[in-house]
């Protein structure tokens, strides 16, 4: 695309050759230090006896050994599996549904769209309390239903050890599904109308139209949504802290809350770092194949 240097190129050509690399290099340097340097540091810490502050006594795999003996870590991993899969699937479904519905030339789309999107703009420090109230049987939905005369209504998941993780899913879906909707909507708007017309003339029903023609074309949107949602799921922290604080008991602990707790509350930075390394590896396991496929295709 750009010029490749000829031997003896003039100053301007050579400058233009170097400028792009020069412009990119600060970003690269920043990343190498602030991302990859820090990751390396964390990996190193996970092999040390660090407790309150980093220290550098080498302990080998001890932290990993302890980590997998801690029952809460297994709970956190199980929770992550439940949470992430439900969160990704439900967000995608709702996002896709809303996008398809909004794409039917809806009057008032301009009003509805920001309503679906706005939760992404709010942090859980802001909305956590409202959600907590809403889900609380004594003052929230259940109570309101009782006041309205539906005495048998129960909705006490947030208090239930088995069900609490699903309330986290609800709140998380509330926050991100609008964003997913926006991505699918963008994808839908990018589809050539002529293809749709052609398919209709071929006698495809609306359902077939979506299943056979439109959804396959949304593949990039599906991929982007998957990547964004999966990394949000793995990083989920505020959400749990604001809603349940990890409770009842440890029923809603996630790896991110586990890591924070061990690193900063319990002064077991070594184990915290070990859990962070596991998290990073999980993220990498999802991201690297995706990046590889995406970028190779583009080349």
């Amino acid at each position: 695309m750009a010029t490749t240097t000829d031997t003896g190129a003039d100053f301007r050509t050579r400058l233009q050759e170097w400028l792009p690399k020069l412009v990119l290099s600060p970003s690269l340097a920043i990343m190498l230090v602030f991302v990859y340097g820090f990751i390396a540091f964390t990996i190193y810490l996970s092999f040390t006896d660090s407790r309150m502050l980093p220290s550098f006594g080498w302990v080998g795999w001890d932290n990993y050994d302890r980590l997998f003996r801690v029952r809460e870590w297994n709970v956190a991993l199980t929770n992550l599996a439940i949470f992430a899969s439900l969160y990704i699937v439900i967000c995608t479904l709702i996002g896709l549904t809303l996008a398809i519905l909004l794409d039917q030339k809806i009057r008032g789309e301009g009003v509805l769209r920001p309503i679906f999107l706005y939760p992404m703009a709010l942090s859980f420090i802001v909305t956590g309390t409202a959600w907590k109230w809403f889900l609380d049987p004594a003052i929230g939905l259940e109570n309101t239903m009782h006041l309205w005369g539906w005495e048998s209504f129960t909705f006490n998941w947030i208090k239930d050890r088995e069900m609490a993780i699903y309330t986290i899913v609800i709140a998380a879906v509330w926050q991100s599904s609008g964003f997913v909707m926006a991505m699918f909507l963008a994808g839908l708007r990018g589809i050539d109308n002529e293809i749709l017309k052609a398919a209709q003339m071929d006698g495809a029903s609306n359902f077939q139209l979506y299943r056979r023609i439109i959804l396959p074309q949304l593949r990039p949107a599906f991929l982007s949504a998957f990547v964004i949602l999966s990394h949000l799921a793995i990083k989920s922290y505020d959400l749990v802290i604001a809603l349940t604080g990890g409770g009842p008991g440890n029923a809603t602990a996630l790896p991110a809350t586990f890591m924070y707790s061990y690193t900063f509350t319990r002064n077991q930075m070594g184990i915290g770092a070990a859990s962070a390394v596991i998290m990073l590896m999980t993220i990498a396991a999802i991201m690297v194949p995706y990046l590889y496929a995406e970028l190779r295709e583009k080349k």
Binding site: T3, D6, A9, T13, Q16
Partner: protein, 371 residues
């Protein structure tokens, strides 16, 4: 020594050489068309002239100045792109003068140059519009205006007409030709459309697979194609290429082949090239352009060697001015071009007249013309 010298230029990406020793001298005022199918290297060559791609080996010189490694803006060239590449955020006027501004031309001069060009191209009324508000033809004119205003040594055109509809394309073609006549500038023009190549150029370079297959005037290219590729690529409908046997009969070389009925047909070639002697008794490829096969009345009066050919008519395609007739010859479909009022009927025998002056022979192995 030409005005624009392309001197043994090659281009490689890594280990892959995509242009092989291209050597073209373009004279001042010449209109050179690079033509070929996509992927033949014509655009790469154009970009190398523009300075948008580096040169792996060889030299490109404009007015005897070596251009290797010279920045595109210092080559005194201008380029018209296939997509026009108008800056969407600038008005037409700004688009035209942007290059002058970048080269530090004072504002009054820029204004004057812009007015002149706008007048020349009849786009004065568009100067304050944005490219998004223009039709395809208007954009094309603006893109040319942007090139013209720079008054460059060489104009580069990269498939400038391929985004226009058929009628507009023909109009703009004429328009470009007129401009070239009027301004007498040197032009290098890339296209995959052989009609554009034929109509516009003073010389054509036919390219394929990174090689220049033939360089010559339109007539040379058309009448004496260097090889089978050039022969079939140039001209529409394409040249008929038939596998025939070359035999000497009565001291004259004849091209011998089977007719629609499987019986033998022989076309005498008294003025076959001398080299054809070596091929006697062997199979060769015979190239005959459709317009060289006619009804007897429609045959070229000046031709020295019209051979009769009795054959069965396959399909007829009236095209208004002409009628195309397909028949089977040497086991292949062979197209003849007749006057519109020629009396041919599908399935009926017909006596064709073949102008063997225009026939060419190709070696089966090397595919080069036997000359």
């Amino acid at each position: 020594m030409g005005f624009l010298d392309i001197d043994n230029v090659t281009k490689s990406y890594g280990a892959v050489e995509v242009l092989h020793k291209v050597d073209i001298d373009v004279q001042e005022g010449e209109f050179l068309v690079l033509v070929g199918p996509s992927g033949c290297g014509k655009s790469t060559l154009l970009n190398m002239i523009a300075g948008l791609e580096g040169i792996t080996s060889g030299e490109i010189r404009i007015k005897d100045r070596v251009m290797n490694g010279v920045h595109p803006s210092r080559r005194n060239i201008a380029m018209v792109f296939q997509s026009y590449a108008l800056y969407p955020n600038m008005t037409v006027g700004k688009n035209i003068t942007f290059g002058l501004e970048m080269h530090g031309t004072p504002k009054p001069e820029r204004e004057k140059a812009m007015k002149d060009v706008a007048q020349l191209l009849q786009i004065e009324h568009l100067l304050d519009r944005k490219p998004g508000q223009l039709s395809g033809g208007q954009r094309q004119r603006v893109a040319m205006g942007r090139a013209l205003v720079r008054n460059p040594d060489v104009f580069l055109f990269d498939e400038p007409l391929s985004n226009l509809d058929a009628k507009l394309r023909v109009d703009m073609r004429t328009e470009i030709k007129k401009l070239h006549h009027r301004l007498g500038t040197t032009i290098v023009y890339v296209t995959h459309d052989q009609i554009e190549a034929m109509t516009l150029s003073t010389r054509i370079a036919v390219m394929f697979n990174g090689y220049v297959q033939q360089l010559g005037t339109p007539k040379e290219i058309y009448d004496t194609p260097a090889n089978l590729f050039v022969a079939t690529f140039m001209g529409s409908p394409a040249m008929n290429v038939l596998k025939v046997k070359l035999e000497e009969r009565n001291g004259v070389p004849h091209a011998v082949m089977a007719g629609a009925d499987g019986a033998e047909r022989a076309l005498a070639m008294p003025n076959a090239p001398a080299a054809a002697k070596a091929y006697l008794g062997r199979e060769v490829m015979l190239g005959i352009r459709p317009e060289a096969i006619t009804d007897p009345e429609g045959a070229d009066r000046n031709a020295r060697n019209i051979q009769p050919l009795a054959n069965t008519v396959g399909v007829t395609e009236p095209a208004g001015a002409d009628t195309f007739v397909t028949m089977t010859l040497a086991g292949k479909d062979c197209v003849a071009r007749m006057r519109a009022d020629a009396d041919v009927r599908p399935g009926q025998p017909f006596d064709f007249a073949v102008n063997m002056d225009k026939a060419v022979l190709f070696d089966i192995e090397t595919e080069t013309r036997i000359a």
